[in-house]
């Protein structure tokens, strides 16, 4: 188990190293003078000189890379060309919003997805099964940004049930401690602030949750069907255990193992989806930060963003693998 963790961390370092090489090559591959390319339209002689000094573009390539690597290791991802803010600072300001949204989406997907997938498998071929399979298919093919637009139009604009954008009503004077707005409200006992943040979360979470929901439902269903045909379930039936005990202890528990691994893989899809969802609902998360960076070709932000996401993605998967080992004795003991 410890070996696994260490090996995965070693692999992560390797991946990050490879990634930094790619990202470095990326900036170097920009056509023309790298400093000018980096600055784009905003290039001024002073700006170019500053960039040249920072990246050392006048030095040999390998030395430039080492400098770059050194900066990364120190957590220095440079500053945004547009705002001048250090990339890291902006990340930590904006990341809570994205995490809050992603977690809400994930919780929604798990709470709905696992029971639905399980029931669909148990009543295979029935109306619920067909509805669940069809619904999950829709979840896969309807683009998350389209769903977001649709929800916004129907439930926010037409029916006015939910706010159309933002994380919290501007009129609420909320204290922000952690930048997780729902949590902040709870911590400061500003219940209305918490509630308002929650209401703002509903539509984005539904839109974003559609991706993991579709996948969790399908995996749960397939996994339960697999387990149901396993020999050990037949043994449990031959023991004369009650249906409830068999379902809980022998079917669901075993079926959740593969589901838990896919949760980790969802992290990537969730982050991609968050970028799009935040754009639609004007949420100030890292998604919209990336959106701005992309539209304005803010390379330091893009570079930092990709590295950052890769780390988060790898760590999430590592955590999932470890928890898998905790759940499954076959991995734990051997």
């Amino acid at each position: 188990m410890l070996t696994l963790v260490v090996r995965r961390l070693a692999l992560l370092v390797l991946v990050l190293f490879g990634l930094s090489l790619l990202l470095f090559a990326w900036v170097r591959a920009l056509p023309g003078d790298p400093a000018r390319a980096l600055l784009g339209e905003k290039a001024t002689p002073a700006g170019i000189a500053a960039v040249n000094e920072r990246y050392g573009f006048d030095q040999p390539v390998w030395q430039q890379y080492l400098t770059y690597l050194g900066q990364i290791v120190r957590g220095d991802f440079g500053a945004s060309i547009n705002t001048g803010e250090p990339v890291v600072t902006t990340f930590f300001e904006r990341f809570p919003a994205t995490i809050e949204l992603s977690l809400a989406a994930l919780v929604l997907a798990i709470v709905l997805g696992i029971p639905l997938g399980y029931l669909a498998a148990r009543r295979r071929g029935g109306w619920l099964d067909n509805a669940v399979v069809g619904g999950s298919l829709l979840g896969v093919v309807v683009p998350v940004f389209f769903l977001a637009v649709l929800l916004k139009y129907l439930l926010a604009i037409q029916l006015g049930l939910f706010p159309t954008s933002g994380r919290q009503d501007a009129r609420i004077d909320a204290t922000h401690v952690t930048n997780f707005y729902v949590l902040d409200g709870l911590l400061t006992r500003e219940w209305d602030a918490s509630w308002d943040a929650l209401v703002h979360l509903v539509l984005p979470a539904i839109a974003l949750g559609s991706i993991p929901l579709a996948i969790i439902v399908r995996i749960t269903r397939a996994s339960v069907l697999d387990v149901l045909s396993d020999d050990h379930v037949r043994t449990a039936e031959a023991k004369g255990l009650s249906r409830a005990v068999i379902s809980r202890r022998h079917v669901l528990r075993n079926a959740l193992l593969p589901v838990s691994t896919t949760l980790g893989l969802q992290a990537g899809a969730l982050l991609s989806g968050a970028v799009l969802t935040e754009t639609v609902f004007s949420i100030n998360g890292i998604g919209s930060y990336l959106f701005d960076a992309v539209t304005q070709l803010d390379y330091p932000v893009l570079q930092g963003f990709i590295l950052f996401i890769a780390v988060v993605y790898a760590l999430v998967n590592l955590v999932v693998d470890i928890s898998y080992g905790v759940i499954d004795p076959r991995v734990r003991v051997s």
Partner: protein, 364 residues
């Protein structure tokens, strides 16, 4: 069956009087790697020093339980698994000394019949194309029309219906699939056939068909067999010589009639006593030797005699610290060899087994 064998093969003279297959000191060790750096910390000794000779036209039966290394041995003999040490000679040619291209050409002389005939055939290839391909690859004599005729003749010879060539493997029954597997193994007119559990995947009533076919083919084509199986009755039926394997090594070897009538090694005795016989009278009168425990790990075999941890006759001296070698025992023909320090005393009854040996439980 005028051979497709070209002039360069068919060694006669010098090599013909020695055994066709000669294996010396064969070892196959798989490294065990652990830890972050995948350091090699030991080895699974799948095959750990085996010598055997198979004279031309005879059958050597290799018997043992799962995990004893018999299948690995079979594959190592064909160099489908790379041996760690030792030598394998076929008709005088040392296989382990051959380079890639020479080995590839030499492969026509030795073929394999697999346990699961369906898994051993490419599912997207018709039977005819599966049999033609090796002929084309080795540029056998005659050209395509002669090859086709040979394939048709061969399919007929192994007892497949005409028209079988145009079909795909999944369209046959288990027994027929194994006939396809045998035909494919014979298409290059080999000298040696290694059959790894050739009938264990088949229904009981069909096993005999395949065994009889193998016998006939051996008689008609002068084939030499190395048959690997866990079923003692099957091995006895087909073999001239039988070798019993335990944890990567031979513990006893002898002619099929001699070894089954008077087994010397405690493990052979236990195996024979455990093999069910479809005869209640014989079952009731047999002495049953029940072994305790499971097979030790081949990664960490016991010191001395490898069987000692389960042996009912284990002795406080020699067994734990001296690895017994195959040897001839007085009163037995020189063809029978056993790797046990106490074989004479056990046979004479001077040593008594620990409690676990007893007559079969009375039936009713």
């Amino acid at each position: 069956m005028a051979g497709a064998r070209s002039a360069q093969a068919a060694p006669s003279g010098a090599a013909a009087d020695g055994p066709l297959l000669s294996v010396r000191g064969l070892e196959v060790h798989y490294p065990i790697r652990t830890g972050i750096l995948q350091r090699t910390v030991g080895a699974v000794r799948a095959v750990d020093g085996v010598d055997l000779d198979v004279p031309r036209g005879t059958t050597y039966g290799l018997v043992g339980e799962s995990g004893c290394g018999k299948s690995t041995l079979g594959r190592a003999v064909l160099r489908l698994t790379e041996p760690t040490a030792g030598s394998v000679a076929i008709g005088g040619t040392d296989l382990l000394a051959l380079g890639g291209e020479q080995l590839r050409r030499e492969r026509r002389r030795m073929q394999m019949v697999f346990q699961d005939p369906l898994a051993s055939l490419d599912p997207r290839q018709t039977v005819e194309s599966a049999l033609l391909e090796p002929l084309a690859v080795h540029r056998a004599e005659g050209g395509p029309s002669a090859w086709r005729a040979r394939v048709r003749g061969l399919l007929d010879r192994v007892g497949l219906p005409s028209g079988a060539g145009a079909k795909y493997p999944h369209e046959f029954s288990g027994g027929q699939r194994q006939r396809v597997g045998i035909a494919r193994a014979l298409v290059l007119d080999p000298d040696l056939l290694v059959a790894d559990e050739p009938v264990s995947a088949l229904d009981v009533s069909v096993q005999a068909q395949v065994l009889v076919l193998l016998e006939e083919l051996q008689r008609d084509l002068g084939l030499t067999y190395l048959v690997i199986a866990h079923d003692l009755a099957v091995v006895k039926h087909v073999s001239t010589t039988v070798g019993v394997m335990y944890l990567g090594a031979l513990v006893e070897e002898g002619t099929s009639s001699g070894l089954y009538a008077r087994p010397l090694h405690p493990y052979t005795r236990a195996l024979l006593s455990a093999a069910p016989v479809p005869d209640p009278v014989a079952e009731a009168s047999r002495e049953r030797i029940l072994l305790s425990g499971d097979l030790p790990s081949p990664a960490d075999p016991p010191s001395g005699c490898r069987f000692r941890t389960r042996c009912p006759w284990v002795q406080p001296t020699r067994c734990a610290d001296e690895r017994p070698l195959l040897r001839v025992v007085d009163g037995h023909p020189p063809t029978q060899k056993v790797a046990c320090h106490w074989a004479e005393d056990i046979e004479a009854g001077r040593l008594q087994p620990r409690g676990s040996a007893r007559p079969a439980a009375p039936a009713a």
